[in-house]
């Protein structure tokens, strides 16, 4: 992705928005300049910054939990046929199910709490990481394993020199793929029964109060959060998976 192309895209997007806002002159479509102004003042003086931080925190905690649970399980499953045979059908049945449908179930069990929201996002990350890491760990060739064993490697050495290095770029791929979904579901989960987070800011504090410029500022904030997550994971995926390039 070239920086120049990115700049041109942004300028075109803003220009179209600007022209549309000026031409239509609707209250529900403020101009980008007005939105940027509100975005900045809400971020520095208002509550947008706090909501952005809370959403980011929820995403990061869910990501850490999802990775911490899925990656070790996937690595173990790649080595233990019995566990793998039991888990694979379960994973392939549950993986394609949109996790957001479990929201009511989670709310019934965990209540209208932050734990529910974090649990839901963790679920999304968990399945994505499990499927991709299990695949990557299973693709290590038997010859490679034998050659490392022949050097006298223990199980710990296999983990350290084989499974962890092969897993890290796979985790980044999984996080990159799930960034968009995780943010979308967070938005839904934050749009009710809470007073914090970008979902709340956009739906309750802005849309609910007909504060359109604030609504766009919130959308801008959630877009930035998604883009940054996507860019960081893509960068790390490429950086840590350089060995995969030919």
């Amino acid at each position: 992705m070239s920086k120049r192309a990115l700049a041109i895209d942004l300028i075109v997007l803003l220009a179209v928005w600007f022209v549309a806002a000026e031409a239509l002159d609707l209250r529900m479509l403020p101009s980008p300049l007005q939105v940027l102004e509100v975005f900045w003042s809400e971020l520095t003086e208002g509550k947008l910054g706090m909501h952005l931080l809370i959403s980011t925190r929820r995403i990061l905690i869910s990501t850490a939990l999802g990775v911490a649970l899925a990656a070790p399980l996937a690595i173990v499953a790649a080595q233990l046929q019995l566990l793998d045979r039991f888990l694979t059908p379960l994973m392939y049945f549950l993986y394609p199910v949109p996790k957001v449908v479990f929201l009511p179930v989670i709310l019934v069990f965990l209540g209208l709490t932050d734990t529910s929201r974090v649990f839901l996002i963790t679920l999304i990350i968990f399945f994505q990481v499990y499927v991709i890491v299990r695949d990557a760990a299973g693709q290590v060739r038997p010859e490679t394993l034998d050659s490392v064993y022949s050097l006298g490697a223990s199980r710990w050495h296999m983990l350290r020199y084989v499974y962890i290095p092969v897993t890290i770029p796979a985790i980044m791929t999984a996080l990159k793929i799930s960034a968009g979904t995780a943010i979308a579901v967070l938005f839904i989960a934050e749009s009710f029964a809470t007073t914090t987070g970008l979902g709340y800011y956009i739906m309750i504090e802005s849309w609910g109060r007909v504060a359109y410029a604030n609504m766009y500022a919130g959308i801008l904030a959630i877009s930035l959060l998604g883009s940054i997550l996507f860019l960081v994971t893509s960068f790390l995926e490429r950086r840590l998976g350089r060995w995969r390039e030919r």
Binding site: E143, D146, S150, Y161
Partner: protein, 254 residues
């Protein structure tokens, strides 16, 4: 067995039976002794189980019956003095050439600085110092096999098992690697066992040839002794052509 003292026996398969599936042995009741300093080449048809013999000698597979011995002790797993070089995929794709060579040293607890130093020396010795920072996918087939050799030799391994190590490289590189292997073998006094499809390679790198003509299970092999006892075989030497013909004959090749 009685004529060989235990110290002289480097590696031995004693009435070994092995298979990957029950009742489908790949090796059956097979006995073979490799003495210290010997160099063996195993020739035989594809799928006959030649590589399996090597994996048994490496301690990576355990026999169902019989035993594998190293220095007269049963071999229950990989041994630090027995190294293995594979045709392909033996290197870790996520480590650079330099890190791949250090791998065995690190596994054995050599301090990082020393491991780096030893790896650098072997890179230089095998003339691949310029590719130390590259990943296996960026290396040529010949360079990859040099790295695989360096990784084993860096451990001061005295027995080197080679499973078709030069079969995925071009002819010229192949001859260079054979030459290099011959020199290393003599310089370091290695005991080597080579599995190959090439009659010429078998003759160049083996003083003893184990000829397998049956398909799995392997129960016996014919042993041929090279006329070049310790001297470097020369492709132009009439003895070379004559011995190759003898080997082809034993393999029942036209």
């Amino acid at each position: 067995m009685a004529t060989i003292s235990p110290e002289a026996v480097s590696l031995a398969l004693e009435q070994v039976t092995f298979g990957y599936k029950p009742n489908q042995p790949i090796v059956r009741d097979f006995t073979w002794r490799i003495e210290r300093g010997e160099s063996w080449s195993i020739l035989g048809p594809s799928g006959s189980g030649k590589s399996t013999l090597l994996y048994l000698l490496a301690g990576l597979r355990q026999p169902e019956a019989g035993r594998v011995c190293f220095r007269d002790r049963p071999l229950n797993g990989p041994n630090r003095d027995v190294g293995l070089v594979l045709q392909d995929y033996g290197l870790l794709p996520w480590f650079t050439a330099h890190d791949n060579i250090q791998l065995g040293l690190k596994i054995r607890g050599v301090p990082p600085g020393q491991a780096r130093q030893i790896a650098s020396e072997w890179l230089e010795r095998l003339h691949i110092e310029h590719v130390g920072d590259q990943y296996p996918s960026q290396l040529s087939g010949g360079q990859r096999q040099r790295v695989a050799l360096a990784r084993v030799l860096a451990l001061q391994t005295r027995v080197v098992l080679l499973d078709e190590p030069f079969s995925s490289v071009d002819e010229l590189t192949r001859e260079r690697l054979q030459q290099l292997m011959w020199e290393l073998k003599h310089e370091l006094g290695l005991t080597t066992v080579l599995v190959t499809h090439s009659v010429e390679e078998a003759v160049i790198l083996g003083n003893n040839l184990l000829i397998i003509t049956e398909h799995a299970p392997i129960t016996r092999g014919e042993v041929l002794r090279s006329p070049f006892n310790g001297e470097r075989p020369n492709r132009g030497d009439p003895r070379f052509a004559a011995f190759c013909a003898e080997v082809r004959n034993a393999l029942e090749l036209p």
